[in-house]
Amino acid sequence: MMSTTQYASFKSRPLYGTLSPVSATAHLVVAEGEGSEAVKTLVASASAEFLDNATLIYAKGSGPEDATDAMQALGFKRFHTSATATASLPRLNAALDRLRMGTQIYLTGNESALSLFVKACADAGQDYQGLQTEHHGSLARRMQCVHCKGITENVTTQPAECAHCGLLLLVRDHYSRRIGAFQGVNINAEDPADVPAKEEMF
């Protein structure tokens, strides 16, 4: 399902759309977890030739569902599986090295996986505006502590502790595309004894 909590609260906050097939010389689809739903819909609405020059990289992810068999059955020309989004990155990087301009890139999965996938594309020189994205699953965030620069994965609370320096951070919608993470800023710098209650937020 598209998240209803996404809105342009901050200019850099990524917004996701709906994958839809376009005319291109090749197609690269990268999916994590429940993003398998978006891949099924994408293939169902594509022409028969779509799969002939298409690569699918599927990471099962941490959820209970495993769509690996269903993804394999779709009939992509090239198909790769990984356990997690992080583990799929070498595959994604290899595909980005191999593919040519004119390849349409489709990315789907949870917020954290999308951060990783978009960053990998950016590191390969591919601008985020040319990528198609669709969100499925968790809203848990990758967060960068602006103080120690450490990245904390799977942040679901507001505020959240930095896994590296231990500061209590306000998780902002301010997003760094270069780093692929939301920015966390110390919430109680004036009085470390003032500890606001944590809420499950993402």
Binding site: L96, D97, G102, T103, A124, G125, Q126, Q129, G130
Partner: protein
């Protein structure tokens, strides 16, 4: 207006590059360094041509790492409105002139993994500055340069020396042409495309890139449009309460300036959007020549870019 403030310069050298092109060097009149710029930037040169003050944009071609002087190369255009002829005939070493601060409407996207540069004729000039910048960054680049003949291919020896096998030349006199589809199909993911040259070349490149599915964010082009000569006409400036005649060889913007009205501008080539002006009323035809307004905006007839566009008809009222 501060955006239009200029720099007083002295012409420090004029070099004949070939039978059509001259290179002009400018140093600051006060002996200081010129402002820093990035590859792809241009300056607007002011020319006091008799009764007429011309202001024309030219790409900076010298190294962005050397601000002791600025260099531009200008191709003589015998059919143009006279700016290039003035530069070729009247401008000599030692002359005092005024240029604008540099502005860049054609910057490199340094996040690219590879830079594919396509130049046609005098459109090579921004790429001279850009290849210098990219070389110092050890960036991956290819330059494809189309010209009529080796004799008219400005800066070929310099480019050969700095780029080697990364320079690809196409001589139209020898029936050599760029195969855009082939060239754009074999570029790796992460390539950014830059094109500067005559309109047909830009159109062919953009058409090929778009039909092959290149994302817009990876496509960069620069083409300074020109205000073509045309029938004189009159514009009414509503805010200033003036009626101004635009001469045959004059742009609307030049006519507005000549009437003493301070109008905004930056590139004077229909590319930057700075001089966009509201059309309050008109009876006739707006002759749009810019790359700024969208086609539907041009069709609606509520805006015009006075730096390059003209008018034919009975009455034109601008909000200026």
């Amino acid at each position: 207006m501060s955006i239009n403030a200029g720099i007083d310069v002295i012409v420090s050298d004029v070099v004949e590059v070939n039978s059509l092109i001259k290179r002009f060097h400018f140093k600051r009149a006060d002996g200081q360094q010129l402002p820093a710029f990035s590859g792809g930037a241009h300056v607007v040169i002011e020319m006091e041509d008799g009764e007429q003050r011309r202001r024309t944009p030219y790409s900076l071609m010298s190294s962005p790492f050397d601000t002791t002087d600025y260099q531009v190369s200008i191709r003589r255009d015998d059919e143009g409105r006279g700016g290039s002829l003035y530069m070729h005939r009247e401008v000599t070493t030692g002359m005092a002139m005024k240029i604008s601060y540099p502005a860049n409407l054609f910057p490199l996207d340094l996040r690219a993994r590879r830079h594919l540069l396509i130049a046609g004729g005098i459109g090579i000039t921004p790429f001279l500055a850009q290849t210098d910048q990219l070389n110092r960054l050890s960036a991956d680049l290819e330059l494809h340069y189309g010209v009529r003949s080796p004799e008219l291919g400005a800066y070929l020896p310099e480019l050969n020396a700095s780029l080697g096998h990364r320079l690809h030349t196409y001589y139209s006199d020898e029936k050599q042409f760029i195969d855009y589809d082939e060239l754009l199909t074999r570029q790796p993911v992460g390539t950014h495309l830059y094109v500067c040259g005559p309109s047909p070349m830009i159109d062919a490149t953009l058409n090929s890139a778009r039909s092959l599915g290149w994302p817009e964010a990876h496509i960069h082009f620069e083409h300074f449009a020109k205000s073509p000569p045309g029938e004189p006409f009159v514009i009414e400036l509503a805010n200033s309460g003036l009626s101004v005649e635009v001469g045959r060889e004059q742009s609307m913007l030049e006519a507005i300036e000549a009437a003493g009205v301070d109008a905004p501008y930056l590139c004077r080539g229909g590319a930057c959007g700075q001089c966009e002006t509201k059309v309050l009323e008109y009876d006739g035809e707006l002759l749009h020549e810019d790359h700024w307004l969208e086609d539907d905006e041009k069709a609606r007839g509520q805006k015009i870019m006075p730096c390059v566009s003209r008018f034919r008809g009975k009455r034109l009222v601008l909000e200026r």
